[in-house]
């Protein structure tokens, strides 16, 4: 029986290793067989284009905080994705006759999302590099830009070239060409990376960084929209082959189709002549109504999803918790071991990792798993482990005499648990459960990493849309506080009522 416990532990630990890396491994293997994707005359023998056409949608992943490439604006209170790459994606979808679906996520999550089939293509200012070629197939390039420094205007005279950053701190978005450039070309500067460009710009404004290295068009856009910022050419060598669309390895027919579109776009110079000016229009037009409060609908949507995640996860977490608490207290060694493994594993791994694992890992098996559902599953499972321990302590806090009295009256085990033990246990553990509930509400913000429109995610949208960093954060902090404070009052009210009934 003891050996069984070890075996179970092993299975649980081995499970994650079994599912994700296999896809990664497969991608690596095929990289040696198919060569450069920039060759448009490749023979397409795969059915990737066919599949896209059959499903009728092209799912494109992008990190939409990168004006003028892709960014969000609002139209009639709804979030709308704009930018020249959005125009390009639309054109591509139109050319192959399908509907475009945009998935907004962190830049460094894009490759995983592509590998696990969450998205069909990446169109997100992604530079062609040899390393990336190992895991994806690139289309032909459609744009190439130099890297620019974005700095505070006050430092304009001090910081004039890449060299002037020696001994200073430079930020870049994780996973971008620019973050590689800093580590390779600016060895005397300290490089800092974050997932969101908008967060980096906030850091710049609060002097956490002396400069942020980014793509030229984006740097210019920020400088144009914020009079305190200034952009200049880094003149760092452009080692990359330009910007291209990325596709899963082996999707040759899809790459060929993309190249058709890019060929046309390049020939007509659509990007420089039409799409970038259009994008600039959007940037100007929302500059006018750029107050954070005019984005209240963003916050409202965020609150709605935060509450949905919290309520559903609390209910599921409580049911799971009760189940696993009973299993842990069970005399059946098999059930007991399962419960112990579940509780220890879920408590012993970070929630952020669990959320991403459910979305990308389990999502690789069940392709259609929506991010919201993945988030709820992860948060419920996590909460279940903590609730299980709370409930177990509650049950064990009830004196044995209560059970004996109930059993001596002829009550069954179930009746004893339901009518005698659980009501008393619940009263004892109420404050601890309340704590867990409040923690859960706050922790639901972690679900933003997989792109669920809850409060934190919406805040990031507002940040990048308004070019303001601190105010949206402050508003969000207040909203979270109002939510948790209300909740703790409600819990206190019920605690009081349970006391009165004594």
């Amino acid at each position: 029986m003891k050996g069984f416990k070890h075996l179970l532990m092993l299975i649980i630990i081995a499970f994650p290793m079994l599912c994700t890396p296999i896809t990664a491994l497969a991608a690596n293997e095929s990289s040696s067989t198919s060569s450069s994707a920039t060759n448009s005359s490749q023979v397409a023998s795969d059915d990737s284009l066919q599949k896209i056409k059959q499903k009728g949608t092209l799912v494109v992943g992008m990190s939409a905080d990168y004006p003028p490439y892709e960014f969000t604006t609002k139209e009639n209170g709804k979030t709308k994705y704009v930018g020249f790459e959005v125009s390009l994606a639309k054109q591509f979808a139109k050319d192959i006759g399908v509907r475009l679906v945009i998935k907004n996520m962190d830049f460094d999550s894009l490759l995983v999302a592509l590998e696990t089939g969450k998205i069909d293509a990446i169109i997100s200012g992604m530079n062609v590099t040899n390393e990336r070629k190992k895991s994806v197939d690139f289309s032909n390039t459609y744009y190439s830009g130099d890297s620019y420094f974005l700095i505070n205007k006050g430092d304009k005279d001090k910081l004039v070239s890449a060299k002037s950053f020696n001994g200073k701190t430079v930020g870049a978005q994780n996973g971008t060409l620019q973050s590689t450039l800093i580590s390779k070309e600016m060895p005397k500067a300290t490089g800092k990376g974050l997932a969101k460009l908008s967060s980096l710009v906030i850091g710049l404004q609060s002097h956490k960084y002396d400069g942020v290295l980014m793509d030229a068009a984006t740097a210019k856009a920020y400088a144009a929209n914020n009079s305190n910022l200034y952009a200049f050419n880094s003149k760092l060598p452009n080692t990359a082959g330009g910007i291209a669309m990325a596709f899963p390895k082996g999707d040759t027919s899809l790459v060929n189709a993309a190249n058709q579109t890019i060929k046309k776009v390049n020939k007509e110079q659509l990007i420089n002549k039409e799409w970038i000016p259009q994008a600039s229009q959007y940037m100007k037009s929302y500059k006018k109504q750029n107050t954070v409060l005019s984005y209240w609908r963003y916050f409202a949507k965020g609150i709605k999803y935060t509450l949905i995640i919290t309520v559903v996860s609390v209910i599921c977490g409580f049911l799971l918790g009760t189940l696993f608490a009973l299993m842990r207290l069970s005399k059946n060694k098999f059930l007991h071991s399962i419960a112990v493994c579940y509780i220890e594993f879920l408590r012993g791994t970070p929630m952020m990792v669990q959320i991403m694992f459910v979305y990308f890992g389990i999502g690789a098996i069940i392709q259609s798993l929506p991010a919201l559902l993945a988030g709820i599953i992860a948060v419920s499972l996590n909460s279940g482990a903590y609730v299980a321990e709370i409930i177990r302590s509650g049950i064990q806090s009830i004196p044995l005499g209560q059970t004996e009295a109930a059993r001596s009256l002829g009550m069954s085990k179930n009746e004893t648990f339901r009518y005698v033990i659980m009501p008393q246990a619940l009263k004892n553990i109420w404050p601890a459960l309340g704590n867990e509930l409040i923690t859960l509400l706050k922790d639901s913000s972690l679900v933003s990493v997989i792109g669920v429109s809850e409060l934190m995610y919406q805040t990031q949208l507002v940040q990048s849309a308004t070019y303001k960093g601190v105010l949206p954060l402050f508003i969000t902090m207040i909203i979270y506080f109002i939510l948790t404070f209300t909740l703790s009052r409600v819990l206190l009210y019920f605690e009081g009522r349970m006391k009165h009934a004594h």
Binding site: G401, E404, A405, G410, S412
Partner: protein, 246 residues
């Protein structure tokens, strides 16, 4: 010929290496009041708890109305326990329920008696134990003696055929002992079969039909109270009585 209600055959109980009950064979007749007395650590409480299988014996048999309790499945055991009321030293009232609810919960949930009928019965029982005015109070608002009287009423609400008392007055302040003993005396007079583990020698002498004297994991001797208290036959009993009847 009186009918045997409980029959104990070669009962044995071990806790790991500690043998608490060594070899006990006795029986309780219908309507009989048995008082189990003896020095502490003799195994009296364990013995009583084996009678309704709160404690699983490690050997022998306990027959209730001819049915062996040992190794019985949970459902059958629950049904038999309905007929065996038990009163504990520590009362074990349910602190989250009113006095009335404490008494009605088992009849309502186990016997499916409707709430109204159960409340009526409960009020009758509360009147009998002199606590009708406490029906809506919670256990922690009652004194020890009152709690124990409620506990007796709670056990009686299931209309048991035998009542087991596990040192019912040991946790009480001295001035509250009598009110509980009075209720028990009334119960005995009404013809209830009772097995009482007690240190109240006066009560045992006056109310019991038979005294079972326990020491060292055995029932050392049994007898009618007058006989036992005036001429105990075993040296263990003589020694014990010398100490308690100073």
């Amino acid at each position: 010929m009186p009918t045997k209600m409980i029959e104990i055959k070669n009962l044995q109980k071990k806790f790991k290496n500690n043998i608490v009950l060594k070899d006990i064979s006795e029986h309780v007749d219908k309507g009989q009041v048995i008082c189990v007395i003896g020095p502490s650590g003799a195994g009296k409480s364990t013995f009583l708890r084996c009678l309704n299988a709160l404690e699983q014996p490690t050997g022998g048999q306990v027959l209730f109305e001819g049915q062996n309790l040992i190794g019985l499945n949970d459902k059958k055991l629950d049904q038999l326990r309905e007929k065996m009321g038990m009163v504990f030293q520590g009362f074990n009232l349910f602190p989250n329920m009113t006095v009335l609810k404490n008494i009605t919960i088992a009849p309502v949930k186990v016997k499916n008696i409707d709430e109204e009928q159960a409340s009526k019965t409960a009020m009758n029982l509360l009147t009998k134990v002199g606590l009708a005015d406490k029906a809506q109070q919670y256990p922690d608002q009652l004194s020890g003696g009152q709690k124990q009287r409620v506990a007796i009423a709670r056990a009686l609400a299931m209309s048991p055929e035998v009542m087991l008392f596990d040192e019912p007055t040991s946790a009480l302040d001295p001035e509250m002992v009598d009110e509980v003993l009075k209720v028990m005396r009334d119960l005995a007079e009404s013809g209830m079969t009772m097995v009482v583990v007690t240190h109240e020698m006066g009560f045992a002498r006056e109310v019991a039909d038979q005294i079972w004297f326990m020491a060292d994991g055995y029932i050392q001797e049994t007898g009618e109270p007058e006989e036992f208290f005036s001429h105990p036959s075993s040296p263990r009993a003589q020694d014990f009585l010398k100490k308690v009847l100073k």
